[in-house]
């Protein structure tokens, strides 16, 4: 795990007892994890009573350094001891390493989820709904008398292709059997693959 000079500098400031008291360190560490996990930017993330007396520029620099360090760690799947030794190199004392790395371990899984969702992927099917209908007649043909289904696939993240709508289509009973058969094939293969 490599950290840039400015991040290292920020972390070193965070480790400095003359700049951050223990309560301030704890508050900033919490703020760093919270801002990564909250999903949307909260302007007041650094407005904590324990951080009141710290200079704002320094505070922002340290916050940026801490979040970068956390993200790099999760990105490279660094474990608690790797983070600890990294912080040790940056002159953190034992107590601060303990606080930081414990929080890291606690939130790592959740952060992995956040990071795994970044990036492009095809629209994701979440659910399907269906309606069974009976086609009796239309303007061109009478006595059609065929049951058919109207399927609607609920799709998420379709914005990339410019259509956030569900996918709606018709299928006859035979076509639906075909569709389900193919999905079952896929499920069977998945099961086999997971047993390897």
């Amino acid at each position: 795990m490599e950290l840039s000079e400015s991040v290292q500098k920020g972390l070193q400031s965070l480790a400095d007892p003359s700049l951050f008291e223990p309560s301030g360190f704890r508050a900033l560490t919490d703020a760093a994890f919270r801002s990564l996990l909250s999903g949307h930017a909260d302007r007041r993330v650094l407005e904590d009573p324990a951080l009141e007396h710290t200079e704002r520029v320094l505070l922002k620099q340290c916050h940026a350094a801490a979040t970068t360090c956390i993200l790099e760690g999760v990105k490279h799947n660094a474990d608690q001891s790797t983070i600890s030794s990294c912080l040790e190199d940056l002159t953190f004392d034992a107590e601060r390493i303990e606080i930081f790395s414990k929080s890291y371990q606690k939130h790592k899984e959740e952060l992995e989820g956040v990071l795994a969702n970044i990036g492009t992927q095809p629209p994701h099917i979440n659910d399907a709904s269906w309606r069974l209908q009976y086609h009796m007649k239309n303007g061109h043909v009478h006595k059609v008398n065929e049951p058919f289904y109207l399927l609607s696939l609920n799709v998420e993240n379709a914005g990339l292709e410019g259509s956030a709508q569900d996918i709606n289509f018709n299928c006859t009973v035979e076509q639906l059997q075909d569709l389900v058969g193919k999905m079952k094939d896929a499920a069977k293969s998945l099961e086999k693959a997971s047993q390897m």
Binding site: K75, A116, G119, A128, V141, H142, I167, F169, V173, A187
Partner: protein, 200 residues
């Protein structure tokens, strides 16, 4: 069920008894051809010149036959009802038989052509799938995320068919299968079967 033919329509078909039965057969062949491929007005000109009739007379004859065929196919008229419907036109038995044969022979093809005209949503054509495992991304270097990537082919009314690339996770795939199996089961239950039997 009998066809109801208007007076105007009867006038249009009045040309048929005036010509040779072979010509009526030819008109019938042209009518079926036009139903398949669309009307080609040059054919009217050629036929009119040969027979010495005005173009409109030929046109009325052929299009009259087209109407007779599409209406009968639309209503799924039986051969006996077709005979009785045509009887109203007052043609010779030989001519009636030619029309009946024309109807019986082309019934299925015309019906399938008509079926395509019905308005419809995109319809299912095929589903292709593959199993993927996401191993890493820019934001996350080490991952093992199983995924099912699917390509759904849909047939649309327009010239180009739609293909949708979709993805889902294994748990959702199982959920989809169970939802759709419930859909398949619902057409087979007694209630649905009773209703389908009784709507005719």
């Amino acid at each position: 069920m009998l066809l109801v033919l208007s007076e105007e329509y009867k006038e249009h078909l009045a040309v048929l008894p005036q010509v040779d039965p072979a010509v009526v057969s030819e008109f019938g062949r042209i009518a079926v051809e036009f139903l398949k491929r669309g009307i080609n007005s040059k054919v009217y000109e050629g036929a009119a010149r040969k027979l010495g009739f005005p173009i409109t007379t030929v046109q009325h004859g052929v299009e009259g036959l087209m109407f007779l065929l599409t209406e009968s196919c639309k209503l799924m008229i039986s051969d006996i009802d077709f005979k009785d419907s045509v009887m109203v036109l007052g043609f010779s038995p030989e001519l009636n038989e030619i029309l009946l044969q024309l109807y019986m022979k082309n019934h299925d093809a015309i019906r399938s052509t008509l079926t395509q005209l019905a308005p419809s949503l995109p319809s299912y054509h095929n589903l292709e799938w593959r199993l993927d495992i996401q191993l890493g991304s820019r934001a996350m270097r080490q991952q093992v995320v199983p995924m099912v990537t699917m390509l759904l082919h849909l047939t649309t009314d327009g010239p180009d068919n739609r293909r949708c690339a979709l993805q889902t996770d294994p748990a959702t795939l199982l959920h989809l299968i169970s939802v759709l199996e419930a859909a398949l089961a619902s057409v087979k239950n007694n209630r649905a079967r009773r209703i389908l039997r009784n709507i005719k």
